[in-house]
Symmetry: C2
Subunit: 590 residues, 2 copies
């Protein structure tokens, strides 16, 4: 027997008991006749005491132990004279009478502490040591609990978890697929799913009614900090539902998760159209923890002789509350440089300061008198002490730039409280996106998304501008400016789906070869249906007020798609290549 | 709104309510002035009534509907005059006053009934219609519930579910890997995991203490009826445990699953050594629903002038209770032919019948008198009316043949009750298996399995016969003759692991290239640990007394590894091949 208790459970009530513990040596301190040692496992830390007077040999053996050695000890629980109120086991210590070394440890390449001295690369290579740190361990435990609560809620709502296949079929639409050569079918490949989209629709046609799955998905894309080649989704689909049925169900799930894991009751889940989100925030995933909504000034600012505004498609600004006194001319210059960086790309910045003393200062005071500027301030609900920040230019670009500026101001003004959570449904996305380069439409969500009911007739006409204006019955759940989930009502009619494939530039043959099974299935009694998928990794991060999903993945890959711990990917043997009937055309650079 | 209720929930208490239902037309029957229709969804069937007198138009529309059309109806719940006690909703019907056709269905290629007229191939191609059948739908719901109960139990035992990566590294040991070419690392490949074995061990070294995962695994093997290229495991690992800790924990899980899903309290989980299993049943996964254990007769049957026995390494038989009267000479001849088939391959069969009247009949009566045969009968505990069936020859082969015969007799004698469940732990497997062809050892379980403590010293010697006799701390859970799960205590010491790799014929370089990360991890405080994996698909099948795992997989592949519904695998584009820097060397046959 390795232990009678774990390192986190002994209390003062256990005083006098003989116990056996196993774990890792966290740290030890020698005080003349005594050696104190912290023994650690997943559940906590317990203090051990080795007494030189009662057992010299034992105490000397203990003094030879180093950090991260694995030991088993036997001893008696006693009350500590020097209690540690910060630790659950802080009232007791174990007077040790037997010690077994289970395994020794070399000196770790970084310290196993909350505040470690190990850099990212080193921690990833020795991920098994990194996971021993409290923060990483707690993140993985959080993730496990989040999955449990997700399943509990959906099971309670009569959702059935169905495993869909991982070895499926490559479809060029969407992101790039990872493919898997088939040995039994030489020259042919499986693909790894980017999502179980078509399978969950098939399950609706199969009458499963409510489906979910917490499932790995795969995209062979160039990686950014918050992207991984394999990621996890909470994937759901429902039959005989309207959009509002789905939004209500998944508001319920989200509320349950925040309540059970963060003890947080979420505020209301307002719904905002995609168009309004862009107009008011310049983004389809606005951070609504703070206001600072966009106000358009075209009607007030044009035609007064300021050429930059006169020639602009859009003049739009935000009102930064109580900032007029915070920004000197030098600060404004720095802020202007910030938005002129290539990452943001604005041409310039116009400010209007409504000083506390009633005076008005502005970079465009030459062109607009105080009365004119006051009309701007009124429209933007500026009070004394506030500062307007205004951009102008081509509408779409200007909104994107002002979105960046708004978020930056929110950060600077401390308006992004990581413990506050503000959900928002963004609805009514465009159905199609025009791709100038490819001279074709792309599906904004995916090719199975239904147009809104009132747009279905219009979809049948061929007119380009009408197509651009079509609205999809699609929705995203945004929390604190992060897209947590997205979904749509799906097409369930073969003719409408074919029309959509036409619009997306599929030939009949391509549509049939890639999605013939789904088109066929629509002919055998497909029910109206829709669904949603939550990014599980991102949900973990957002719920903990963190940015990087990597911190919530046990074994993440780096930006080159490599697992540096196991050193993968790696070459395979010629025999394996031969069995797969494959040759590499790659010429290694030397 | 598509429905106020589903098709399985209305009862007599709902009488008089106005309801909206949606679903599929199962069947309809016209009776003069009335049309009765069964409306189906996942939850059940509700009878609809259309009345020609009250609404001709509606009734005529209903009469045009065909099987599997999807409709929405509104109406009032009323008591049925002709109740159907076999159906939860059998006390009521809905008098319809509005009908909307949501989607039409072509005539399905097979009937959506329990007893369908569709063959396997057709049902797989139209799997979405097949899943509408009660039996398939119930299997998938069973699977979902089994996963929920598994997680509930393991969560209650403080196991943490950790997702391990799907894109890992190819290791030639074990079965063949599926590989995934890396675009970002040309010429290199990921592999799909055959199991998360090394990752779960890494998680133990990381201090996670108790890990589990319900996880997809992959093997590129030639397929049999009960094998799939992708399959699901309940994968578990624990730290600071002995074998008995693990067996107790997973006896607990198994008991919980049978209790909660089958309302069955399992009998005891006896433990039997691998050697005893082979001696007593000729198999390491005996079906213990019935006895008929092997009894060896070498001491009694040799040296009496019967050459076949005299020259045999082993003479071994079973006693078939009350079968002497059931087998005529012709029947015995047929049974002999059965065991002489190439699939079994026995040379011959010796029988001894102890007739009800006290006489003894035997195919070897020439060589053994009644007294001699009676000593056999005594040893095999035969009673009047019993029949001994005896095989002889080389020991290992003879045991395998007698195992087949025992199972066949169990089937014929009706001893394999599909509603009875008999668990058994088989323990103390050999560590290594000698492969004559390859002239090397294989790991019987896998290369990370620890030898039993008492064999660890012996493992350090190089002697071939000693190596063959080494016992592993490995165990299988067998229920009704099917291996449900298997696992072992793992090696956690670098030197012992290296020694094992040596024995398995790895060079130092190969061991380092493939498993260097694990060997390295052993040096940083690896705790003693062990684990187990349950075949989830097979567990589903066994719990339902079925043989094929395919019936419990939503979208299984056929014996050529193809998904015939989506038609995968399939060729990929030249552009994709180019991006992956791959050429196919396959020459298609025309």
């Amino acid at each position: 027997m390795y232990r009678s208790h774990n390192c986190g459970e002994l209390r003062i009530e256990n005083e006098g008991q003989n116990v056996t513990l196993s774990g890792w040596v966290q740290v030890s301190r020698d005080f003349g006749g005594m050696t104190f040692m912290d023994l650690r496992d997943r559940y906590g830390i317990t203090q051990l005491v080795f007494n030189m007077e009662s057992n010299v040999e034992l105490c000397e053996a203990a003094r030879k132990l180093g950090r991260e050695d694995v030991i088993k000890v036997k001893g008696r629980v006693k009350e500590r004279s020097n209690k540690n109120p910060n630790r659950d086991t802080g009232d007791i210590e174990i007077e040790i009478n037997a010690l077994t070394i289970l395994n020794e440890s070399k000196v770790p390449p970084f310290t196993i502490e909350d505040d470690t001295d190990g850099g990212e690369d080193l921690r990833m290579k020795y991920r098994y040591l990194d996971i021993r740190r409290n923060s990483v361990r707690d993140n993985l435990i959080f993730r496990s609990k989040l999955a449990i609560e997700t399943r509990k809620y959906l099971d309670g709502q009569e959702f059935i978890e169905v495993e869909t296949p991982v070895l499926i079929k490559s479809t060029p639409e969407g992101a790039r697929d990872f493919v898997v050569p088939s040995r039994m079918n030489p020259g042919q490949f499986y693909a790894l799913p980017q999502s179980p989209q078509t399978f969950k629709q098939i399950l609706m046609i199969a009458g499963m009614d409510k489906y979910f799955q917490i499932v790995k998905c795969f995209r062979d894309e160039d990686l950014r900090a918050d992207r991984q080649p394999e990621f996890t989704q909470i994937d759901c689909e429902m039959s005989f539902v309207t959009r509002d049925n789905i939004l209500d169900t998944f508001e319920g799930l989200t509320r349950h998760l925040f309540q059970s894991l963060k003890n947080t009751t979420l505020p209301s889940f307002p719904r905002m159209s995609y168009d309004d989100a862009l107009k008011q925030y310049g983004s389809d995933k606005p951070d609504t923890r703070f206001e600072m909504r966009f106000v358009e000034l075209n009607d007030l600012a044009k035609g007064k002789g300021f050429g930059v505004f006169d020639n602009a498609e859009l003049i739009v600004g935000i009102c930064a509350s109580k900032q007029s006194g915070q920004y000197s001319n030098k600060d404004i210059k720095k802020l202007t440089e910030w938005i002129q960086r290539p990452q943001v790309g604005a041409k310039g910045l116009v400010y209007v300061k409504f000083e506390e003393d009633g005076t008005i200062k502005s970079s465009v005071g030459k062109f607009y008198d105080d009365d004119a500027l006051r009309t701007w301030g009124d429209k933007m609900k500026a009070k004394a002490g506030d500062m307007l920040l205004i951009l102008s230019g081509e509408a779409e670009k200007t909104r994107k730039q002002l979105n960046e500026l708004r978020l930056e101001m929110g950060r600077r003004m401390g308006l992004m409280d990581p413990t506050e959570f503000k959900p928002l449904w963004v609805v009514d996305f465009p159905l199609l996106e025009w791709d100038e380069d490819a001279n074709r439409f792309h599906a904004m969500h995916h090719p199975f998304t239904a147009p809104k009911k009132e747009d279905q007739e219009r979809m049948k006409t061929g007119d380009h501008e009408t197509m651009k204006a079509l609205r999809a019955d699609a929705y995203d759940l945004v929390i604190n400016g992060v897209e947590i989930g997205g979904g749509s009502i799906r097409i369930h009619d073969r003719a409408l789906q074919s029309r959509n494939f036409d619009l997306l530039g599929f030939t009949k043959e391509e549509a049939e070869a890639q999605f013939g099974f789904l088109l066929g299935a629509f002919e055998y009694g497909a029910p109206p249906h829709g669904g949603i998928a939550f990014g599980f990794d991102r949900l973990c991060a957002v719920m903990n007020g963190q940015n990087s999903i990597r911190d919530f993945i046990a074994f993440p890959k780096n930006n080159q798609g490599r697992d540096v711990m196991i050193d993968s990917p790696s070459p395979i043997s010629d025999e394996q290549m031969g069995e797969l009937k494959l040759n590499s055309t790659h010429i290694p650079t030397t």
